[in-house]
């Protein structure tokens, strides 16, 4: 097995030319190392360790967009005042991942590229209208988050492509946001369901814009357009939020059918949509 550790972006670009199906990138390794012990894991020929490419680590704001390098760890994101202020829902999601040790090693890029249906940073990024930046030998391209996922555990990335950064506009003043995670315990629990929302209302309490992104609900990540349409122009009320929840649950059943977990997920997805919207609106759940 080859082990490559490019020291900068130029070196990384060079390694990409030889990349094949048997190449595996390693960021923090918190997914890769666990998987490598599974019986179905096919051993890569080449490992490309991204940990020395400093260009992939920074978090900054340029041209009205926030950029988070793919190699930024969850702990680094949580600690960034810029993210706490301008994208608090992402900081909240990172804070609920695994445990301190996992957050210190695990990266945003790894979380996205692993493409697990329950990845905790994806709903906030969808709700933030994020784009990802992809590097290949030809150079950089951007892909909208919504188009990045093909199916569970598969993204549009080709073998010779690497994720370099995530971009999104900071939440403007007057936008509320929230992230909610439901797990089987308070730490070290993958999400049973997770949920992110961004909400803008006018001073009459009418919803002007809403973005709703649930996790572990659809086979391929997406926002809930039907629920967003329903809510736009409506008042923020428990009832409207509940109805948005029911629309989401129906959408889930329409796409995935009724499964063994549906008796639980149907009511709970609906309730959590309501919950995350109330949180984004800054309201208490009674």
């Amino acid at each position: 097995m080859n082990y490559l550790r490019p020291k900068n972006l130029t070196e990384l670009t060079r390694t990409l030319s030889d990349a094949s199906a048997a190449t595996q990138f390693v960021a923090g390794g918190t997914d890769v190392l666990v998987e490598s012990r599974q019986p179905y894991f096919s051993k890569p020929q080449t490992l490309i360790d991204l940990s020395r490419v400093d260009e992939l680590k920074s978090i900054s704001e340029t041209n009205g967009l926030i950029r988070i390098g793919a190699m930024a760890t969850h702990s680094e994101i949580i600690a960034q005042p810029l993210i706490q202020r301008q994208a608090p829902l992402l900081a909240q999601a990172c804070a609920e991942i695994g445990s301190q040790q996992i957050r210190n090693r695990g990266t945003l890029g790894g979380n996205i590229c692993n493409a697990s249906p329950c990845a905790d940073t994806v709903p906030p990024l969808l709700a933030l209208d994020a784009q990802v930046e992809v590097l290949n030998e030809q150079g950089l391209r951007r892909v909208a988050m919504q188009e990045f996922f093909v199916k569970p555990y598969q993204t549009v990335l080709q073998k010779n492509e690497v994720l370099t950064a995530v971009y999104f506009p900071p939440l403007p003043d007057g936008y509320g946001s929230a992230f909610y995670k439901l797990g089987r315990r308070k730490a070290l629990a993958i999400s049973r369901i997770n949920m992110a929302a961004v909400l803008k209302t006018n001073h009459h309490g009418i919803i002007e814009e809403v973005r709703l992104a649930p996790g572990s609900v659809f086979p391929v990540w997406k926002r809930v357009a039907a629920a967003e349409r329903f809510l736009t122009g409506k008042k923020i009320t428990d009832q409207n939020f509940m109805q948005a929840g029911q629309i989401t649950a129906q959408e889930m059943i329409k796409i995935s059918g009724r499964r063994w977990s549906t008796p639980y997920k149907e009511p709970v997805v609906a309730a959590l949509v309501k919950r995350v919207l109330l949180m984004a609106a800054g309201l208490e759940e009674q």
Binding site: P263, Y264, R275
Partner: protein, 776 residues
């Protein structure tokens, strides 16, 4: 109030420093030059006949030194209470953790590669995964003689008359799940041939006297040719009995075959796949009750899933049958507890040992009764609780201090139970999205083995010529603090500081067979033996002192590192402990003595289930306070109060440690732990899927220690290890009821259970053909 020097003090653990610095050596930390590594070949069907085993390809792998099947076992290949556990599967496989062959090779990877090349031909047999189906007439037979492992009974009074007399009947069915012990350190052993045609085994066996016998018998050697050295243990909770013996004996067989040291190590996945679990129970409870809240009759049936082998099922279910009616008066009782073989993982000892299952049912029933009568859970328990002199369901008259009411009242006071219980059952609370709830439970528990086994323990105390002391005992420390407690007892008797005492690793050649470190008997039995041994040494010292200082031995006291003449009104120091030690050795009096602790008589009639089951009992009460998310079913533990009468706390900090750990484990049983198998295949084989509480999930805990010294224990000490865990789950589920008005009857109270009142399972085709049997 007490005149003790060290007993009752919060002495730090004598082994704490080694554990935090890493100096402590666990089984896998031992290595030897030229050592080989073992690997196993697992069964490929949960129930099959083995037609042939072809090891030829495995033997050809470079680096492989031995491949063994059952045919290569020189001695006994079977062991167990009912000796049907196979070291290596012979004619049949009975669960997917069975091992068909073992390999020793120069490294683990080579050994595993070779094991994977072993080819086994099977004839698949019908399998059965449900103990009630296993007891049906046409069920596939797992062991000769049928699938019923045991049937225990208790018969008292006349239940039919009792139900006749009753004003109303409460009838409910409960289910409990199998759970994994989840010890931090998976099983491991290093076995090496010694210079005298024997073998030394270093390992983490909870019950190393049994391991000793099994290994010697398998190797075809006398016991004195096999030496067991107990390494520092990273937890056990009842789990490292047969499971750890299996790992050690397989290593021993490979060491014998190759003549080289062999290390056998379970990964977490191996450990969970192979090892036994806590029994799943189905419990049918029927109580005939009166309007005043008393109970006229109890009819109880319980069926335990014993899995592939008998293991401790006969004893586990015996404790269940003795304690199935709880610490409550009831004149008419009929209890039947069964254990049945299935093709699931076998089940055996786990902290609690047959009590957590019945306690869940009893304490849920008690709350139902309170609801029906219209009194609080505390009031209903006080109305029915055993008092001094009470007679149990097995006809045993309780002659010790029965402190059930005391612990109940203390638990209620410490948690503000009555007020909160009233507040939380209001409509105003229950209709909230996040209702709160508070729940009470209590239990009594027979101490030590009881009439289920021979009960004796030994210890050896050796005061060395410089006055430092070594203690050896047959009771082991798996993290519960046995070394500290026994060292404190010896220090108290000899009147010297704890630092002068060193606790030796248990060793099969050093101390007589003391039975297993189970059944919360470590302090009462092992500590009792250490106390007697120390007193025997002190006797020798007293006689020497009497001669040297011309005082009466009856007036000698040992305190503060000195020997005192406590004659009449005045006390005067005669010499230091060291000086007296030197004087003893100078006169040819070596200071070495053993102590053996026997217990009071117990007895039992198998047919009627009547008798003095245990020589004494302990009492405890728990209160859990929760907040339920009614939208998701998520339950958050807010506060926990755990009150235990331990007789005497030898070390308050160690007792609290047991209580805190017990609450975490018991609440996990109540809320999330579940070992899931699909058609006998273990699905939750590591801690990413097998959930236990994390530090974040553990509530604020308050431990309250009650002390009513018992004549049977050293300085009055009884036990706390298992009491701490056995009643936490129903406190949690009773709290959920208080919050929601809905009763959890199937453990664990996970998201689906609390939200929907049922468990959800992935749809799997059931492989069990037994399910096609027409129910009668």
């Amino acid at each position: 109030m007490s005149s003790f020097n060290i007993i009752g003090k919060r002495e730090p653990r004598v082994d704490a420093l080694g554990k935090v610095t890493g100096a402590a050596k666990y089984a896998d930390d031992y290595n030897l030059p030229h050592q080989l590594h073992g690997a196993v070949k697992y069964a490929e069907y949960p129930h099959a006949e083995i037609l042939s085993i072809d090891t030829s390809e495995a033997e050809k792998v470079p680096g492989v030194e031995a491949v063994l099947t059952y045919k290569d076992v020189p001695g006994a290949n079977h062991f167990g209470l009912i000796p049907n556990i196979r070291i290596l599967a012979d004619d049949h496989t009975r669960y997917l953790g069975d091992v068909v062959a073992v390999v020793a090779a120069v490294d683990r990877r080579t050994a595993q590669k070779a094991a994977d090349l072993i080819k086994v031909k099977y004839r698949e047999l019908l399998a059965v995964f449900d103990p009630e189906e296993a007891l049906e007439e046409n069920a596939p037979v797992i062991h000769e003689g049928g699938n019923e492992i045991v049937h225990h009974k208790v018969r008292k009074g006349d239940v039919a008359a009792g139900f006749e007399e009753a004003d109303f009947i409460i009838e409910k069915t409960f289910k409990t799940q199998p759970i994994e012990h989840a010890y931090l350190e998976p099983e491991a052993a290093l076995v090496y041939p010694d210079e005298h045609d024997g073998f030394t085994v270093i390992g983490c066996m909870q019950n190393f006297y049994t391991s000793h016998k099994v290994i010697a018998a398998a190797l075809g050697l006398p016991l004195n040719k096999v030496q067991i050295i107990q390494s520092t243990m990273g937890g056990s909770f009842g789990g490292k009995d047969e499971a750890a013996t299996l790992v050690a004996v397989r290593a021993a067989l490979l060491a014998q075959k190759t003549g080289r040291p062999v290390k056998m190590l379970s990964t977490r996945e191996d450990s969970i796949r192979q090892s036994y679990k806590r029994h799943a129970y189905k419990l049918y409870y029927k109580w005939g009750c009166k309007k005043d809240g008393t109970i006229a009759a109890m009819e109880i049936k319980a069926v335990a899933d014993g899995g592939a082998y008998a293991s401790m099922s006969p004893f586990v279910t015996w404790r269940s049958v003795v304690q199935a009616t709880g610490p409550y008066y009831c004149p008419n009782v009929k209890t039947d507890v069964y254990a049945a073989y299935t093709n699931n993982n076998f089940t055996g000892a786990m902290r609690g040992f047959g009590s957590p299952q019945v306690n869940f049912a009893i304490e849920s029933m008690m709350d139902e009764l309170a609801e029906r009568v219209g009194v609080s859970p505390l009031q209903i328990r006080l109305r029915n609780a055993f008092e001094d002199g009470a007679e149990t369901a097995t006809g045993q008259k309780l002659t010790h201090r029965v402190s059930l009411k005391e612990v109940l009242i203390k638990a209620a006071e410490a948690s503000d139970f009555e007020r909160k219980w009233r507040e939380y059952r209001s409509e105003a609370n229950r209709t909230k999205t996040f209702p709160k709830g508070i729940g009470l439970s209590c239990a009594y528990r027979g101490v030590s083995l009881g009439a289920e086994g021979v009960d004796a323990a030994s210890a050896v105390v050796y005061v060395q010529p410089d006055g430092s002391v070594t203690v050896s005992a047959g009771i082991i420390d798996m993290g519960q603090g046995a070394r500290t407690v026994m060292a404190q007892i010896v220090a108290e008797v000899l009147g010297i500081p704890l630092q002068r005492i060193h606790f030796l690793e248990p060793d099969s050649g050093r101390v007589a067979d003391s039975g297993p470190t189970v059944a919360s008997r470590g302090t009462i039995m092992g500590g009792g033996a250490a106390k007697i041994a120390a007193e025997n040494v002190r006797e020798i010292m007293k006689h020497t002192a009497a001669v040297v200082y011309s005082v009466s031995p009856a007036h000698l006291g040992f305190r503060d590192g000195k020997v005192w003449d406590d004659n009449g009104k005045s006390s005067r120091p005669l010499c230091t402990f060291e000086e007296l030690t030197a004087a003893c050795y100078a006169r040819g009096k070596p200071l070495f003595a053993s102590g053996v602790r026997h217990v009071a008589e117990t007895n039992w009639d198998e047919e009627t289930g009547q008798g003095n089951a245990y020589f004494t009992f302990v009492y405890g009460a728990n209160v859990a306070e929760v907040q339920v998310d009614s939208a998701t079913g998520q339950t958050e533990l807010l506060n926990f109060v755990s009150v235990h009468d331990v007789g005497r706390a030898i070390n308050k900090a160690t007792v609290e440690g047991q209580i805190y750990g017990g609450v975490a484990m018991g609440a996990g049983y109540g809320m999330m732990e579940e070992f899931i198998q699909e058609n006998g295949e273990a699905k939750t084989i590591n801690f990413d899927e097998y959930y236990i509480l994390t530090a974040m999930d553990v509530p604020k805990m308050k431990a309250v220690i009650v002390e009513n010294p018992d004549e049977h224990g050293p300085f009055g000490a009884k036990s706390v290890g298992e009491p701490a865990v056995e009643m936490a789950a129903p406190a949690v589920t009773n709290a959920i009821y208080n919050a929601t008005g809905r009763r959890v009857q199937n453990l664990p109270a996970n998201l689906e259970e609390v939200r929907l009142g049922q468990k959800l399972r992935r749809n799997v085709q059931r492989a069990s053909v037994a399910c096609k049997i027409e129910p009668k």
